[in-house]
C-alpha cells in the first residue's frame, strides 16, 4: 500500500471535528478519489498525509514512511498540489519551478532540463519567463501540478485540482492527470467535489461525509450496486414524505424510495416500464407531477443512497458561497453514464 490511514481523528481548536475516524488504503499506481462536499474532511485528510497537520489520534503511512515519526522521508517521496495555488506571483514560472527543485536538493543542468521538460509538458514554455501573476487560472493550475512533479515523486496529492477552472481548462487538466497515472505509474490521491471528476479519473473512490468514509469501491462497482435505473419525479408542490413513500413503494418493481421536498427518487429494474405505474399511483393519491426523468445510476445516486441526502444539498448546506458550482456539478453527475 502506498498510502494507508487508520482511524484518523482531527478536531480543530474551535471544536470542529474535521476527521472522525477516517481510514483508507491505496495501492501503488492507483488514482484514488476522495469525494465529498465542502467541509467533509477531505482537505484535512490531505494535510495530515502530507505532514502539514498532525492528527489527534490514528496513524498513517505514505510511501512506506510513518507521517508522524518520519515526516522528512514522507516529504521527499510526495508531491503536493494544494487547493490554494501557493506559487510566488512575483516570480516567473521558471523561477518557481527551479526553486521548488532546489528545495528537494536538485541543481545544475539536471534541474534545468527537468524544469524545461515540465514547462513543455504543461504547455507553459511560452509563458515561462513571465511573472506568475500574469498567468490565467488554467496556466496557474498547470504550473501548480508541475511544481508537485519537479522531483519525480512516488505519490502525488491533488486537492481539488480543477476547482475554479473553466470547462476547457478542466478537461485539459483531466487529460494530463490521466496521462500521469497511465504513463508514470504514479499513486495519486485526488480530492474533489465534482462527481464527474471522480467518475472520470478515479480507479477507486471513497465517499467521505462528516469526517469518515461512508463507502468505498470502484466507480463502476458502486454504481453497479444500485439496481436498475434511477427514476426522479419532480412534484408541483412539497409532499408529505410519510404519506408518499408507500404510494410509490407500492408500485411493482420499485425500490429505494426517497423523498426530499418536491423531489422523489426511486430505483426500478426497468425505469421506462415503471413510469406509467408511478404516474398512475401519484394520480390516484392526488399528487400533481411536474417532470419525470429516468437515468442510469450516477455517483450522485450512490451518494444519495449512502449518505442519505443529495450531493448538491450537502455541498450547499456547508458552503453557501459555492451554489452555482454545486449546481453544475450535479448536472454533470446525473448525466447517466454507467
Amino acid at each position: 500500500m502506498q498510502i494507508e490511514a487508520h482511524d484518523l481523528v482531527k478536531t480543530y481548536p474551535q471544536g470542529v471535528r474535521a476527521l472522525d475516524g477516517l481510514s483508507i488504503s491505496i495501492p501503488q499506481a492507483t488514482v484514488f478519489g476522495l469525494l465529498g462536499p465542502n467541509g467533509a474532511g477531505k482537505s484535512t485528510a490531505i494535510k495530515i498525509l502530507t505532514t502539514l497537520a498532525r492528527p489527534d489520534s490514528g496513524r498513517a503511512t505514505v510511501a512506506g514512511h510513518d507521517v508522524l515519526a518520519h515526516p522528512d522521508r514522507v516529504r521527499r517521496a510526495i508531491g503536493v498540489v494544494a487547493q490554494r495555488s501557493g506559487t510566488d506571483p512575483m516570480a516567473t514560472g521558471r523561477d518557481n519551478l527551479t526553486l521548488q527543485g532546489r528545495l528537494y536538493g536538485l541543481g545544475g543542468t539536471d534541474l534545468k532540463h527537468r524544469v524545461a521538460e515540465l514547462l513543455e509538458r504543461f504547455d507553459l514554455t511560452d509563458a515561462a519567463d513571465r511573472p506568475v501573476r500574469t498567468f490565467s487560472g488554467g496556466m496557474q493550475r498547470r504550473l501548480d501540478v508541475a511544481l508537485g512533479l519537479v522531483h519525480a515523486p512516488a505519490v502525488l496529492f491533488l486537492d481539488e485540482p480543477t476547482t475554479g477552472l473553466d470547462p476547457e481548462a478542466r478537461t485539459a487538466l483531466w487529460a494530463e492527470i490521466e496521462r500521469l497515472s497511465a504513463d508514470e505509474r504514479l499513486t495519486i490521491l485526488l480530492t474533489t467535489h465534482y462527481l464527474e471528476e471522480a467518475d472520470r479519473l478515479a480507479d477507486r473512490l471513497a465517499i467521505v461525509d462528516r469526517g469518515r468514509v461512508v463507502v468505498e469501491g470502484t466507480p463502476d462497482v458502486l454504481k453497479g450496486e444500485l439496481r436498475g435505473d434511477a427514476v426522479h419525479v419532480e412534484l408541483r408542490s412539497t409532499a408529505n414524505e410519510g404519506a408518499l413513500r408507500p404510494v410509490i413503494g407500492g408500485v411493482p418493481g420499485i425500490v429505494d424510495v426517497t423523498v426530499d421536498g418536491r423531489r422523489v427518487s426511486a430505483r426500478a429494474d426497468d425505469g421506462a416500464a415503471a413510469v406509467p405505474g408511478i404516474l398512475a399511483a401519484l394520480d390516484r393519491a392526488g399528487v400533481a407531477v411536474a417532470t419525470v426523468t429516468v437515468a442510469r445510476p450516477s455517483l450522485d445516486d450512490v451518494y444519495l443512497r449512502h449518505v442519505g441526502r443529495r450531493f448538491a444539498d450537502a455541498d450547499r448546506a456547508i458552503s453557501h458561497t459555492d451554489d452555482s458550482d454545486a449546481d453544475t456539478l450535479v448536472g454533470a453527475g446525473t448525466g447517466g453514464h454507467r
Binding site: R75, A82, R84, G86, A91, D95, L99, R102
Partner: protein, 255 residues
C-alpha cells in the same frame, strides 16, 4: 540548511529587486523624521548636559534605529500574505527546513534595513551631520540597526503566524514603535530623561542598539558600552529567530 537558506533568501531578494521603487518609498518616512525633528529640536543641544556638537549628529542614529524598528515590524505582513496564498504550506510540505524559511525572512528584512540605514546615514551626512571616527561609527550603527531589525522582524513573523490578521501587525506597530523609540536615547540625552524613563530605557532593546551605536560614534570610542549592549542585542535577536522558527509548530496545529 545553509544552501536552503540561500535559495529561500534569493527568492525574496529577487522579488525585492523587481520593485526597487518600494525601497525608495520606504525612505520617505525617515527623511521626513530627519529633517522635521532636526529642525524642530535644533536648540535642544543648548540644554545643559546634552553634550553634543549639533543636534543632527545626535539625531541620525535615532532615526536609523527608529526606521529599523518601524520597517521591520511590517515583516509579518509578508508572512500573512504567504499563508493566505498557500505558499507557506507549499514550502512546509517540501523537505526545506523550518529554520531556512525563517532565516530567509529575517535576512531579507536585514538586507533592506541595512540599505535604508546606509541611505539615512548618507542623507544625514549630506545635510551636515558629522561622525568623528570615520567609517567605524556608522558601520557599528548599521550593524546595530540590522540586529534590531532582525529582532522585530522575527517578533512580527511570530505574530503573523499565530494571529494571522493584518490588524494585529498594525496594532503591534502602533503599540510599540513610538513608546520604544521615545523611551530611548533616540531624540533626547539619557541624563535629561526623568528617572523612570531612564530605568525603562535600560531594558529597552531599541536603546541597546542606540547605546552600542553611540558608543562607537563617540569622539573617544566607548568599547565597553558598545560591546555590552551589542551582545545583548545579538542574544535577543538570535533568541527571537529561534522562537520564530519554533512557532511553525504552533502554526501547524491550526492549519
Amino acid at each position: 540548511m545553509i544552501a536552503q537558506t540561500w535559495w529561500m533568501t534569493h527568492r525574496q531578494l529577487k522579488a525585492l529587486l523587481r520593485q526597487p521603487a518600494v525601497l525608495v518609498i520606504t525612505l520617505v518616512q525617515p527623511i521626513v523624521w530627519l529633517f522635521l525633528f532636526g529642525n524642530l529640536f535644533r536648540h535642544i543641544i543648548e540644554l545643559p548636559g546634552f553634550g553634543s556638537g549639533s543636534y543632527l549628529d545626535y539625531l541620525v542614529p535615532g532615526v536609523v534605529v527608529m526606521n529599523a524598528v518601524s520597517s521591520s515590524m511590517w515583516s509579518g505582513m509578508g508572512v500573512i500574505d504567504e499563508i493566505d496564498r498557500g505558499t507557506l504550506n507549499r514550502f512546509l510540505t517540501t523537505p526545506v527546513s523550518r529554520g531556512a524559511i525563517m532565516n530567509a525572512n529575517v535576512i531579507v528584512q536585514a538586507v533592506s534595513v541595512a540599505f535604508q540605514s546606509v541611505m539615512i546615514v548618507l542623507l544625514g551626512w549630506a545635510a551636515g551631520a558629522r561622525f568623528p571616527n570615520g567609517a567605524a561609527g556608522p558601520v557599528a550603527l548599521v550593524v546595530a540597526s540590522i540586529l534590531l531589525g532582525t529582532t522585530f522582524s522575527a517578533l512580527s513573523n511570530v505574530m503573523g503566524m499565530t494571529l494571522r490578521q493584518r490588524e494585529s501587525i498594525i496594532g503591534l506597530s502602533i503599540f510599540l514603535l513610538l513608546p520604544l523609540t521615545f523611551l530611548s536615547t533616540a531624540f533626547m540625552a539619557r541624563s535629561l530623561m526623568p528617572g523612570w524613563m531612564q530605568a525603562i530605557a535600560s531594558v529597552n532593546p531599541v536603546n541597546w542598539a542606540l547605546e552600542s551605536a553611540r558608543g562607537a560614534l563617540a569622539a573617544s570610542v566607548d568599547w565597553g558600552t558598545m560591546l555590552v549592549h551589542g551582545s545583548w542585542l545579538l542574544v535577543l535577536a538570535a533568541a527571537l529567530v529561534w522562537f520564530a522558527t519554533r512557532t511553525f509548530r504552533t502554526y501547524q496545529r491550526t492549519v
